[in-house]
Symmetry: C2
């Protein structure tokens, strides 16, 4: 699971190259993958149920120059739901004229009765069910002005953060729930068991990926205005990453960490999951 | 604008090859394009604001073997909204756990106050606004059981047809409104000024595209169970196509025409559009 929040449209082939290589070659995540990125208001989603190393879509993306301020990517190891296209992350839904993206790393027990609202899963994953839960909460909160064409409410990212946090505290009681969620303006990232991030400022130093030996000199491309936050399940480079605490909900925008809310995850909640905190290495990424 | 409804998963590179070639080379539609296709419940959308002949996504799709029962494609000539990714058809929304696709050929006056409901346009086209209008009508009709996980209502494609027809009769009063709409089960196609279709049965005869000189022998690939309906703004092959009448709403499923409803489009409605019926050749496809 990987997300980028950048101040300027950024070439993301660097991080994705190493990330994609983990799908089947150097890691155990082989049940599909997905990359989604915003271009202003538009959001393109590329998913494939094939492992990245044998996916023609992944090969195409490698040579396709993507420039985006907000990116969400995911390599899938199926815990619930088969290796099918509809079960690949990131998932996307539209709310009040914005596209929203979600990718999850973890494993949740069934949520029971769905949250009332317009969003329902297309596939069979716990992840998409949780995403729809959050989206229905957001809809309930921001739908008051549905009849108007203004999106002023949902543009208040602090209000969005509050709704997401409430939903997240509930959902985390169902199991392991590391995620990234974006509406194209901000990246919301939650650490249930493991999540790290690094903020890169101009001039970017060259950095080597953990899962490959490719490197990109960001300084060649960047400007002094450039800044990028990279959020991932585990550090992808040899830079100094900040490890989040379980229970951290973070909000990034334009490459900066804007807000953090922390509530400790109850130990008994995680102990009932088949992936205990002490077995983080078994948690799918 | 092109749609396929097939009884069996069908290789769609044939029709799309000629269709894509129209984007900038042999036709005047150069403000982007899109192809979307269902794989069981999943729906993949590939759009690009670049003309098909210089789009790397189009080049990739040409070599990517797609097999699908339901396909929607569109080459865009902008009438409203710039050449931006979010303005490219087909548009997609989720309703009750199904992905819905929409592509439009025409030009509508502003719809005024949006229809109440959860769907709002991301881009600035009349087409996406009309799509959201229909989706909000469908949501209002089928949301009664939103709290349940069963989708029995929305699986009643005749009920879906009725809601779409009501919305379509309203929307057509705003201008030219040829469209295709699919939920992955059926294709709904409306002729406001021009729309044609052809039903291919096994054994498929070889057919030559109008916009290119490629041909594909469907007989080599098909089985006796194969049947495909091809729906397009104008005939794409030298087969005998059926020209729809303005005011025809058609429903195709598994390659068969299941239902047709006709209400004549008032002449004064079309006369007020900048594209009159007598100037069909000026209507963007």
């Amino acid at each position: 699971m990987l997300a980028l929040s950048c101040a300027e449209p950024t070439d993301v082939s660097f991080s994705l190259t190493g990330f994609a290589a983990r799908g089947g070659l150097t890691d155990h995540h082989v049940d599909g993958w997905g990359v989604a990125f915003y271009e202003d208001r538009a959001c393109r989603v590329f998913v494939d149920e094939k492992p990245a190393y044998q996916s023609p879509v992944a090969a195409f993306l490698k040579s396709y120059p993507i420039k985006s301020r907000n990116v969400v990517a995911h390599i899938r190891k199926a815990t619930q739901g088969g290796a099918r296209v509809e079960n690949c992350h990131p998932f996307m839904r539209e709310l009040r004229g914005q596209q929203w993206l979600f990718a999850h790393n973890g494993d949740l027990r069934p949520l029971g009765e769905p949250e009332p609202g317009p969003y329902a899963p297309v596939g069979t994953t716990d992840s998409e069910a949780a995403f729809c839960f959050i989206m229905n909460r957001l809809y309930a909160h921001f739908a008051a002005n549905t009849n108007t064409s203004t999106d002023t409410n949902v543009d208040d990212i602090d209000a969005v953060f509050n709704v997401i946090e409430q939903a997240t505290r509930t959902l985390n009681t169902f199991g392991i729930f590391n995620f990234v969620l974006s509406n194209g303006q901000a990246q919301f990232a939650y650490c249930s068991t493991r999540l790290s991030y690094v903020i890169r400022h101009w001039p970017f130093s060259s950095a080597r990926l953990v899962d490959g030996d490719l490197s990109v000199d960001f300084a060649e491309r960047g400007t002094p205005a450039d800044r990028a936050a990279v959020i991932a399940t585990t550090p992808l480079t040899d830079e100094v990453w900040t490890a989040c605490q379980p229970g951290d909900l973070l909000m990034f925008r334009s490459g900066a960490l804007l807000r953090r809310a922390h509530v400790a995850v109850p130990a008994d909640v995680l102990a009932t999951s088949k992936y205990a905190v002490s077995e983080q290495s078994a948690v799918p990424a």
